[in-house]
């Protein structure tokens, strides 16, 4: 009887173990079998991931999901968007509810390790900054001694600012407000001398919430590093590669001057790098386990990184963000893709 139990337990364990190992490392297979990429996105953040009045998603983070779908299926529309709150986003990825987390998430050491995530490639370099009215005559954050600064409560933004002021021996008068909209309104009405938030948000506030955008200036100092990066979960390195290289392909395409408009023409290019990237010289797709047209499909359907940037957050969008750190390395920014070869 006891033996029977042991045998049954062993069998159950064995079945469980096979099920486990069959599951591990098969995000990519599951995606291919399902026929769509399940992408965890923001519930609504302008420029990065938000549904419009018709419920169509757009944004810089959304384009990562579309690029991966274009690479895997040749169709950027094969994405299912799962809106996630800030609190549930990491758990949703860990639990396998989404294949990619492309939701304005900062790459940090603990998230990369103990949270069980793998961060792919940075798609936006953000950082906390300050904005002041030009009439204040301030040119550097170091001159903000004693200034009243509007800040949202309970965010790391508030802590970063306190650290920065303490480190520079400056006196701080924070005006902390709970709701994001009211922080902007308080600054607009002149209740504080300066406002602090992520630089991308400051630019958006300047473009949209202030009557005269030209009267305000974003100070050059960034007091925190916020590399916003799409992530996948530990356990499937091939899927990790696919997502990472889908982003790199967009950056590489921009560097090589390949756009959604000229990608067909560029297929005839003599440049060996372009030929490799676009699959004219085969090999890259096979290495990733993708069709050789993978990067061609990304650029054709989603565009290169520069196009995606300008369309969602740059000069063609209401946010009007500068490229800044997000320019290509050749233009003095940080966007740098390893060679596709």
């Amino acid at each position: 009887m006891k033996n029977l139990f042991t045998a049954a337990a062993m069998a159950a364990l064995a079945v469980g173990a096979t099920a486990g190992s069959a599951q591990a490392g098969t995000t990519f297979d599951a995606v291919k079998q399902r026929g769509e990429v399940v992408c965890g996105v923001h519930t609504g953040l302008a420029g990065f991931g938000a549904p419009d009045a018709q419920g169509n998603w757009s944004g810089l983070d959304i384009d990562v999901c579309r690029a991966v779908a274009a690479a895997v299926f040749g169709d950027a529309k094969k994405v299912k968007y799962v809106p996630l709150s800030a609190q549930q986003r990491l758990a949703a990825l860990q639990a396998g509810e989404v294949d990619i987390l492309s939701r304005n998430t900062t790459w940090t050491l603990t998230r990369d390790t103990s949270n069980g995530l793998n961060f792919t490639a940075v798609n936006y370099y953000d950082g906390q900054g300050f904005m002041v009215p030009k009439s204040l005559g301030v040119n550097s954050a170091k001159e903000l001694d004693g200034a009243t600064v509007c800040v949202q409560t309970g965010t790391t933004t508030e802590l970063n600012m306190a650290d920065y002021f303490r480190a520079n021996n400056m006196k701080l008068n924070p005006l902390t407000i709970e709701a994001f909209e009211e922080v902007n309104a308080a600054y607009a009405s002149g209740r504080c001398d300066a406002i602090t938030s992520d630089a991308s948000q400051l630019a958006a506030i300047r473009a949209n919430d202030l009557p005269n955008p030209d009267d305000h200036v974003i100070l050059p100092e960034l007091i925190s590093k916020e590399p916003l990066t799409p992530a996948v979960r530990h356990g499937d390195d091939q899927w990790f590669d696919v997502v990472k290289w889908s982003i790199y392909a967009m950056i590489d395409a921009e560097e090589q001057g390949i756009t959604s408009a000229n990608v067909d023409e560029k297929k005839g290019s003599d440049n060996p790098n372009t030929k490799r990237l676009l699959g004219v010289t085969p090999g890259m797709g096979a290495a990733l386990g993708l069709p050789e047209e993978w990067a061609y499909n990304i650029v054709k359907q989603v565009g290169n990184y520069g196009e995606s940037f300008e369309r969602n957050v740059g000069k063609d969008s209401p946010l009007k963000l500068e490229r800044g750190l997000n320019a290509l390395w050749t233009d003095g920014g940080l966007m740098y893709a390893p060679p596709a070869r």
Binding site: A19, G20, Q23, A24, A30, T43, G44, L45, A46, G47, A50, P51, D52, A53, Q54, G55, N56, K80, V82, P83, L84, S85, Q87, Q88, A91, A92, Q94, A95, G96, E97, E181, N184, A185, A204, A207, N208, D209, P211, S317, P318, L319
Partner: protein, 380 residues
Amino acid sequence: MRTDERELRNPAYTHTEEPDEPTAGHPPTRTWDLLGWTRKHLFSSIPNTILTLLCLYLLWLAIPPVVDWALLSAVWSSDTADACKVEGAGACWAFVEQKHRFILFGLYPFGEQWRPMVAVVLFIGLIAGSCWPGFWNKGLLAAWAVGLTVCGILMWGGVFGLTYVENSQWGGVPLTLILSVVGIVAAMPLAVLLALGRRSDLPAIKTVCVTFIELIRGVPLISVLFMASIMFPLFMPEGVTVDKLLRAVAGITLFTSAYLAEAIRGGLQSLPQGQYEAADSLGLNYWQKTRLIILPQALRIVIPPLVNQFISTFKDTSLVIIIGLYDLLTTAKTALADPEWRQFYAESYIFAAALYFCFAFFMSRYSQYLERRLNTGTRR
């Protein structure tokens, strides 16, 4: 004589009939007289007069700007936000005009949004119909079965040429109604069982019920939702996922049932012991006794706390914002993500609040009607 005295002291009540007619055996007709009423209620003493004037002054300060903002200077219709951003413009109802479909129906495919609209109208019709005592018979159950099937077909589709829409794309008013109505309807039977179980003589059942109720009541709804939405999937084997909406509904149901159970227990305890003994003496068994004698009386007593809990549950569904479901409040908030319109948050929240108020007010008025109707004869 006494009536005359009262009239002298209280000028609000006056005769309309011939004053010289004798009042004996003829009660005076009370009519409302503005001047008298005002003098009695607003200017009866010097402090009252000061308070009245002060209140009038405050109203004078508050009302004209609000009316001006909300109605007179409001921008009612515009395709772009520029019309609202001009100097002196009031409320930007054009925002609601532009975004109302997103706020009402969330991410439901735009071209198919007539489906949730019909479903919501049908659903509200069913609820309103069920409120009418004339329909309280077996036919109502059949109507619900048919109505819910039609609603399901409309929302999901996949048959009769309707395209399939996953429930992860549902949002706005339909989602809020589903979360609250399913939550309340499913919680009611569970709550009755829990309340009965808590008063049971069987220690095992009693312990289970008490533990469940105290455990759920001891934590906030937001943590129940967190458990359902975030912890639960981590305990499941990889690849096994339970529908997000189902998990949220289950969480709300469990939470509501614990509170309803305590309200119902109050009703059970307020019944005189004689009712139980009378039922026993008729030879009824436990379930007959409970169904025929105890519950009808107990539930009638607890209508006010039950409706209180219903309203509370209805509004609490807005907490699903933290698990990424697009209920009415979340869609109102998400509509603001559009940079062009995002400074008009007040309009968005007022619109959502007005919708919430309509539903909650209906529930409140209906409960008062129900109380009056069911309490005929026992009114104290």
